[in-house]
Symmetry: D2
Subunit: 392 residues, 4 copies
């Protein structure tokens, strides 16, 4: 195994949840070593958080701008290879833009940014600087999701007819944001979270999962967004009818107020020759039914799975892997892309991660859902195409 | 147990599936005795079918009109108490109308009729004649569905926010109607099946289940219908966004082309205080999660269930009951309603069955889904109110 | 369908559970018609029970002896074809012996009798009179159990190595017999229940299921029986190590005091080429894993199942069948055996039922378990061979 | 978070499975830093393995003896705090003894050693030197296992009556050891694996799990061991009847030849007031049924769980944790014990790990199972008591 890549982190200090997940994912396979951070919005907390994590004080920066300057001041080879951005959503754009422009690879949490314009701008910047830019749609890191993607790409399901993707939670079933929950506070605040609530936080995950697995992209959508908890400023529930290019149809259901649901992301895909079903809460099994045959339960770790599924696996069948390993697979894909770039070679196609384009699609989806929800018109065009960055 | 009620049957002869289900359901508890039939559209097959079932030739009629005449010619007390109508859908209306008008109680399969006008007419006729008119939305016969209904009525879930109901099948995933399947042939024929395919056959079940359990009724819907199998004349897949009076929202998903799905009807209901989940393919369990507490798995046959759930149960917990028992519970409710009418008393409130109003709501729902699917407008008004039959 | 066979019943009057199950099973397919009964041990209750069930008073007998006399006094063709014996266990022997000796076919609940000697005597009597004698080991009536049996017989699992069969309940977790439960009272009374409690009531079911599915028979056993509820006179829990002829090994676990268990009978069979798993509480699925391949979930009603599994099926896949249908399949097998005997032909091999030999094996197993539980010796010979009735 | 503890590793070089698991578990929470190793039995492979893992060559030792000498030659504060022993079983004893005697804390894989005498000797040595000695019975690291233990300790289940623990695998269903599998080769070799095969490898896990959760210890056992694969030199399947001190009874079933089983370790415990069920392959749920109430599904991450369960949790409910996190919890418990020892304080009682006593119990269990399997006597005394090390 080569030396670990040097990683800096923006956000994720004391009291944050997702920062610790990123750090564990980065560390799990020894692909990254955390060497620098601007871990909090207040300099004191940033420093304290850095010490907790064992960062030397001179690389525990009070602001992300200071970190960018400080790292660029270091000689190449000592500075960070990549930055992880794990702040509330509204900071993704300025931070990502600055580091990408400076040639530092970026691993950014989702949703990518607040607007499609910001996303297009990032695409331009990243293409110009040539950095790797990964977006942590972490659920695509599950080995059986990669197997599902490979089955569909190989035509095992025939022509895809129907895609149902759901993401159900209940943690916002009550007015947590009024009772001191930091997580709930920023996620229900349009200024920090963006134009959508549940749809932005989890609907975008669901859509990315569906598109990644099926390889299909949206044509049009019809959305109904709700805010069930009185006083909340963003949607906490949404249902979206989906029409895909090529004729497949489907539905995306998401909610953060459904009592009894923990983190129930699940995907069903039906084609002319077979059907698939997967659920994140029990991620080591993938159900596949060929037309006319019995349902099969494919399990992680088995030799009959695709090479990409096997490459994303650490443990034998029956020794369950879960959320952190899937997240680590995203970091592994980012590490491989970064090393390939550094070494001037093509990356191993079995080790992948969601890209900036995936992130931009997610932002576009959120915008279109919000637009559709406000419209009396049934169908809202949801096609996305990458900005023509060559002409810039 | 009182003597069995005398039952006639229209349809359900050789080669039919649902006729045998009705007969078994009627016989299971000894509430009904099949004594007459017009079992097929062709007189020879009708007679042969009658003999197979042990009917005397003189009560195995060549047509339903002959059966009506023949039975009315018998003295009260010997003639049939009720008729079961298990023909293809297009015959429900004339047969039901004639028997109801003649004062014979009716048990009719679903969907009730083809149009809202027909449904309103039946309501008028039935009210005038005073007959019991049951519609076999059989899935509401499951004991745990009755418990779910009772929990919600008692306020255990608080205010209902979200209702997700799904009905997934795969039996029409290929073009069966072109390959000699009698079932597929009539169900995909607008003249016999009605204006909708999957939505009429199974979507109406799903909607009835959701309304029965929650006690909520629709305000507006937004539907997308698809026909995936080339050459098919009716929808074989549908997704519908739901808005209920009072503010609850939801989605109804149904399909008959999803490979790997057998008869996957399931319902999830979420309120401010708890959530419920039930699946028809494993009907002896109902999952209930109170806000903040662990999920509970309620099982049929247990003493903690509601009186109506217990009244609908024949076997102890762990000795599974299933489809036929649930269907028989509908017949049991019809028998109780008929006997109560005959005896001039109120029926036992624990023994119920879907009514003509439920059937009319189902017809209305189908019409509105078809209308919405053809509309560019997002929301289609789906409110239903019973016709003012007094003024007729 | 031919005319129903005429059935008499001994036991199963007011307050009994299993009598109603037998009657429903007999009626479900219209194979039997209940025409006579000696339904209770007390003449008044017998008569009242008969009236409840619609029996004419002259065929509602005060005692089983009166029923036997009364029915024999009727002309052949009017008398009962068969008798169902659904009394507490201690009456099985005298009643079954008398009816079998008189040439009336017998359907008897399990465990068959109290002792191996009684079982051997019944075998002699039944062979001499030539009657059909079915024992309602009802769990072998499940279609997927028949499919499992057929898979193993066809060699799909290779050589069987391991058999694990379990039957867990909790209804006797407390001292019900001291608190007015009629069921608990006789089942925990050695005089009426026999030498074993849980092992007799449910362990014998488990053993029969394992032997029926695998076709294997026991060589030796090692048993530990427990009585957990203070004051109880029979075992309420048992664990048995199994060694089968031919080298397979296994375990049988049964209990009636395991809180949270309803009627959890399950079977796992492992061979050199594959493994099978089935659970009674969700009986419409059978899991099968071929060596090196993914687990398959076989479901009732599918065309890929064996002819016997399909013959035992009434409803399409996804429309669950359950306990009563499986029980009715036993009655259907008995009906077929009786008609074949009456018509002088071989019975349809797809329609079977457990035989008197199966019943005798069950009695032998119970005796041996009790013997082993009392022994300091590890292994107790458990081989059974049919008595040489020819020489009698 | 304090600085990571310095860890050395013996075994776990190229081609080994469990070494990587230990390293990931040690690294997951940043509690340990791997700084030294004697990773393979051959010096070349040891060095190559060390380089792969980024060890400096001067701390990648050719033998464990060299590592012990080399580390002891370093000043306190720079030498390793602890050694992980992940070799084949036969090396556990000499390595563990030497490091423990030298005052280096030990984390040793299971089964601990080959004989009870070796175990007693280790106990003596460890007590004299005062080192922390953890044994990686990793399945006790699952948060819901700790909750189950706490529920039982709190009396929620009442008096324990029955314990069923199973561990089913299929990876040795064929003669892998004859076809180049390094894992299979040593695990089926008595010289390296010990006196038992399946019972030693997985039966000991199962027994430890049952004893840890229930707090009960064995009185007597009755075992049947089998070797199904021709030519194999150790058992590959075992069934054991269990009698616990205090009156509880149970069964332990384990096998490595059951086709279709991956790593199916599961535990059921029944008491007078409730029952529990847990399965390792879906470890984020624990089923609990109180007497007379519905089954509850307790899920990892919820606030209603015990403090120890919560302390062992990294992610919110619905974000599944799995095998590696549970394994890391063992390392966390060891880290806490080591730090407490270093700091002269009592360890946090919420952060625990299996001890040398647990390891010794496991060895004793294996010995007794082998003895019982060879005996014609039904019950074999299986009580264990710690050697009286004070008098040594």
């Amino acid at each position: 195994m080569p030396r670990p890549l040097k990683l800096g982190m923006v956000g994720g200090g004391q009291g944050a949840f997702i920062g610790a997940v990123h750090r564990t994912a980065a560390r799990l396979d020894g692909q990254f070593e955390l060497v620098a951070g601007a871990l909090s919005g207040t300099p004191e907390r940033a420093l304290a958080s850095g010490r907790e994590l064992g960062l030397p004080d001179d690389r525990s920066y009070p602001t992300w701008e200071a970190m960018l300057d400080g790292e660029l001041a270091r000689p190449v080879g000592e500075r960070i290879d990549a930055v992880s951005i794990v702040t509330p959503n509204h900071l993704h754009y300025p931070v990502a833009r600055a580091f990408a422009a400076a040639g530092i690879h970026v691993i950014c949490d989702k949703p990518l940014v607040h607007t499609g314009e910001q996303a297009s701008d990032l695409l331009r910047v990243a293409r110009q600087s040539g950095v790797v830019f990964a977006v942590t749609f972490n659920y695509t890191g599950y080995p059986l999701i990669r197997h599902a993607r490979d089955m569909i790409a190989a035509g095992t399901l025939g022509e895809i007819r129907k895609v149902i993707v759901e993401y159900h939670q209940d943690w916002l079933a009550t007015n947590l944001e009024a009772h001191g929950s930091k997580q709930a506070d920023w996620r229900t605040d349009p200024a920090r979270s963006g134009a959508a609530g549940a749809v932005g936080d989890i609907g975008s995950h669901a859509m990315n999962l569906a598109e990644t697995v099926t390889g299909l992209h949206l044509d049009a959508i019809c959305a109904d967004l709700s805010t069930f908890v009185p006083g909340r400023r963003l949607d906490d529930d949404g249902s979206v009818l989906l029409r895909f290019a090529g004729g497949a149809r489907g539905a995306l259901l998401c909610s953060q107020v459904e009592v009894g649901e923990e983190n129930n992301l699940n995907l069903r895909v039906y084609g002319t020759h077979g059907g698939l079903s997967w659920s994140q809460e029990n991620p080591n099994r993938l159900e596949y039914t060929p037309l006319g045959g019995p349902r099969q339960v494919l399990t992680r770790g088995q030799a009959y799975l695709s090479p990409a599924a096997q490459a994303a696996t650490r443990l034998p069948a029956g020794h369950p892997e879960a959320f952190l390993e899937a997240f680590a697979n995203i970091y592994d894909g980012a590490a491989e892309a970064i090393r390939a770039k550094q070494e001037g070679r093509a990356p191993d196609p079995l080790r992948t991660c969601p890209t900036l384009e995936d992130g931009a699609r997610g932002v576009h989806f959120i915008e279109k859902v919000v637009q559709s929800a406000r419209s009396d018109q049934k169908w809202t065009d949801a096609r996305w195409s990458a900005p023509d960055t060559d002409s810039d």
